[in-house]
C-alpha cells in the first residue's frame, strides 16, 4: 500500500531566491524505512514540511504538484488534522518545545486529540522511557542540554504513534550510543507496528542498517532513489558529497586499488564478512 505519494512538487519560499523543491516525485510504501539525504540546503527539510502541510500552510507561497499522505490530499487538510497521521520531529528541537515541563510537552499532542487521561499517562511514560528521559519529566525544556531537548522532541512524536513518522536529523544532538538506541526504538516501531519512517540523515554510518530505501536530493531535485547498497555505491552519490557509510567507502577504495570484493557492504558486519573472505582467500 502506498502511504506517501508526491508528484511534481515545486516550491519557492516567499522571498526565497531559488526553488527549494523542483519537480519532486516520490512514492513510499507502508512500512518502509526511508533515509532522505543530500547536501545541506538541497530541500530535505522543505520536503518534510510538505508531508505534514507546514509547506505551504504555515510558510506561505504556492506549492505546485500534488501530495497524498495516508490517502489524504495534504492541500485539503489542516495541519492539526494531518497531525493524527503524520508526526514530524523538527531539525531544531528547540522550535518544537514550548511547555513549562517536559511531561506536558510530550502529552500535548495527545491532549489535542482528546485521548483519555489514563491512555495519555501510559503513552507519555512509555515515550519518556524509550528516549531515556524519565528523570527529566519535571524539568523545564529550555533548561536542558541540546541532546536532552532532542530526546524530548522525539518522545513527543513517539507518544503520538502516528502512521508516518518524519524525523528531520533526529539524532544530530544525541550522543552516539543514544542515537543508536533511538534508531533501534524507531526500527522496532517500524517493524512491529508497520509505522512508516522517513528520516533525514547525514551520518549514514549509523543509520543505514535500518533502512531499505534511500532517497538522495540535490539542489531541490530527487537525484537517486533506490536500495541503500545501489545508492551508496553509485558514482553520483560520491560526487554529490553524500556521507557514504565507511563500510561502503572502504570497499570502494579497495576496489580502486585492484582488490575485488564481489559485493557492496553497507553495515560494519557486512564489511567484516566480505573482508574475512578476501583475507582468507589465499
Amino acid at each position: 500500500m502506498t502511504v506517501i505519494e508526491a508528484k511534481g512538487l515545486t516550491y519557492t519560499y516567499p522571498g526565497g531566491t531559488r526553488r527549494a523543491l523542483e519537480d519532486v516525485s516520490i512514492t513510499i510504501e507502508k512500512g518502509e524505512f526511508v533515509i532522505l539525504t543530500g547536501p545541506s540546503g538541497c530541500g530535505k527539510t522543505t520536503l518534510c514540511r510538505c508531508l505534514n502541510g507546514l509547506v505551504p500552510n504555515f510558510y506561505g507561497g504556492k506549492l505546485e504538484g500534488e501530495i497524498l499522505v495516508t490517502g489524504l490530499k495534504v492541500s485539503e487538510h489542516q495541519i492539526y488534522e494531518l497531525a493524527r497521521h503524520v508526526g514530524l520531529v523538527f531539525q531544531n528541537p528547540e522550535n518544537q518545545l514550548f511547555a513549562l515541563f517536559v511531561e506536558k510537552d510530550v502529552a500535548f499532542g495527545l491532549e489535542n486529540l482528546g485521548v483519555p487521561r489514563d491512555e495519555i499517562r501510559k503513552r507519555v511514560d512509555w515515550a519518556l522511557q524509550m528516549t531515556n528521559i524519565e528523570n527529566l519529566r519535571e524539568r523545564a525544556p529550555h533548561e536542558l542540554s541540546g541532546g536532552q531537548q532532542q530526546r524530548v522532541a522525539i518522545a513527543c512524536v513517539l507518544a503520538m504513534q502516528p502512521d508516518v513518522m518524519v524525523l528531520d536529523e533526529p539524532t544530530s544532538f544525541l550522543d552516539p550510543l543514544g542515537a543508536q538506541q533511538i534508531f533501534d526504538v524507531i526500527s522496532r516501531l517500524n517493524k512491529e507496528l508497520g509505522i512508516t519512517v522517513v528520516m533525514v540523515e547525514h551520518r549514514l554510518d549509523l543509520a543505514s542498517r535500518y533502512s531499505n530505501h534511500v532517497v538522495v536530493m540535490d539542489k531541490g531535485k530527487v537525484v537517486l532513489d533506490g536500495e541503500p547498497k545501489d545508492v551508496f555505491s553509485s558514482e553520483a552519490a560520491r560526487l554529490i558529497g553524500v556521507g557514504i557509510p565507511k563500510a561502503t567507502r572502504l570497499s570502494q577504495v579497495l576496489e580502486m586499488s585492484g582488490v575485488r570484493l564481489g559485493r557492496v557492504p553497507v553495515t560494519s558486519e557486512e564489511a567484516s564478512q566480505v573482508l574475512k573472505e578476501v583475507l582468507s582467500r589465499d
Partner: protein, 273 residues
C-alpha cells in the same frame, strides 16, 4: 593556553553540571570534547569565553582569570560558535551577521569587506550574502554562525557541534580549515558527537560523563577503548568496528579511519598502494 582548575558549576535550578573538572589545553592544540548528553560539555566550553563563570574553582585563559576580566575582553580572544545557531544569529542579512564582530572590534571597512567575502566563500554562503539568516536551512544557518566567528580569526576557536547539519563535503572543508588553524598555532576546541569526524581529524579527545572528565588522550586511544567508549556513551568508528572482527586474521584492532584501514589491508594483501 586554557587552564581549568577544579571547576564546579551549578545552574540556578540546582543542576550540578560540572564537578571538579581540571584540564589544560595548550596553544596550537586541537581538542574534541565528547560524551554523554547532559555530561556538561556545553557548560564547560561556555566557561572559556566567560559566558558562564565557575561556581567553584578557576579558569585561566592566557594566564588571565576569567572572573577578573569582562566578557568583552575575553571575546576578542575566544571565538565561540553555539550548539544551536539560533542563539547566535540576529542580523538582517548573512553579510551583516558575518561582519558584525569585525565592525564591533573596529576593523577598517576595507578589511571587513575582504574578511567577510573570504569567510562566505569558505563556508559556501556567497550566494546568500543578502539573505536573512532566518530564511536558510538548518545546515546553512550553522555555517553562518561558523563564518561569523572564523571571519575575525580568533586566537582560540570554540565550536559547539560544528558538523551538525553538514554534509560530507562541508565537513571535509571544515576539517581542512581546522588543520590550517592548527598550523598557525591557533587553539581549536570542538564539542561533538560526530565520531567519524573526530576519527578523520585525529585530534586529541576529552571524554566526559556526568559532569566529569573520564579520560583524555589521542583519538586512537580513546575511540578504540571499548570500556571508555561505553562509559562516555559514544560508539567506536565504523572502521574500528569492522577491524575488531578481523583480529583473528592478524589485523590490527586500533584503526579508526579509512586511510589507516586501506593501508593495513593493502599491506596484508601485498598490493602496492
Amino acid at each position: 593556553m586554557i587552564e581549568v582548575k577544579g571547576v564546579s558549576f551549578t545552574y540556578p535550578n540546582g543542576v550540578e553540571a560540572l564537578r571538579e573538572v581540571s584540564l589544560t589545553i595548550h596553544d596550537g592544540e586541537f581538542v574534541a570534547i565528547m560524551g554523554q548528553n547532559g555530561a556538561g560539555k556545553t557548560t564547560l566550553v561556555k566557561q572559556f569565553n566567560g559566558l558562564l563563570k565557575p561556581t567553584r574553582g578557576e579558569i585561566f585563559v592566557d594566564g588571565v582569570n576569567t572572573r577578573k576580566v569582562s566578557v568583552a575582553t575575553l571575546a576578542r580572544k575566544v571565538g565561540f560558535v553555539f550548539q544551536n545557531p539560533d542563539h547566535q544569529l540576529f542580523c538582517e542579512t548573512v553579510e551583516d551577521e558575518v561582519a558584525f564582530a569585525l565592525r564591533n572590534f573596529g576593523f577598517e571597512e576595507s578589511t571587513i569587506k575582504k574578511r567577510v567575502a573570504w569567510a562566505l566563500n569558505l563556508l559556501d554562503l556567497t550566494e546568500y550574502r543578502e539573505t536573512s539568516p532566518f530564511m536558510l536551512s538548518g545546515g546553512e544557518r550553522k555555517r553562518v554562525a561558523l563564518a561569523s566567528v572564523l571571519a575575525w580569526n580568533p586566537k582560540v576557536v570554540v565550536l559547539d557541534e560544528p558538523t551538525i547539519g553538514q554534509d560530507h563535503k562541508q565537513k571535509e572543508k571544515l576539517r581542512q580549515f581546522i588543520v590550517q588553524l592548527i598550523a598557525q598555532r591557533k587553539t581549536v576546541i570542538i564539542v561533538t558527537h560526530d565520531v567519524e569526524f573526530v576519527a578523520e581529524c585525529n585530534s586529541h579527545v576529552v571524554l566526559m560523563a556526568q559532569g566529569k572528565i573520564v579520560a583524555k588522550g589521542s583519538a586512537k586511544q580513546m575511540l578504540t577503548n571499548s570500556a571508555l567508549v561505553t562509559q562516555a556513551s559514544i560508539v567506536s568508528p565504523q572502521i574500528t568496528q569492522i577491524f575488531l572482527e578481523l583480529a583473528d586474521l592478524g589485523m590490527p584492532i586500533d584503526l579508526i579511519n579509512i586511510h589507516e584501514a586501506r593501508e593495513a589491508l593493502l599491506n596484508f594483501l601485498e598490493v602496492d598502494s
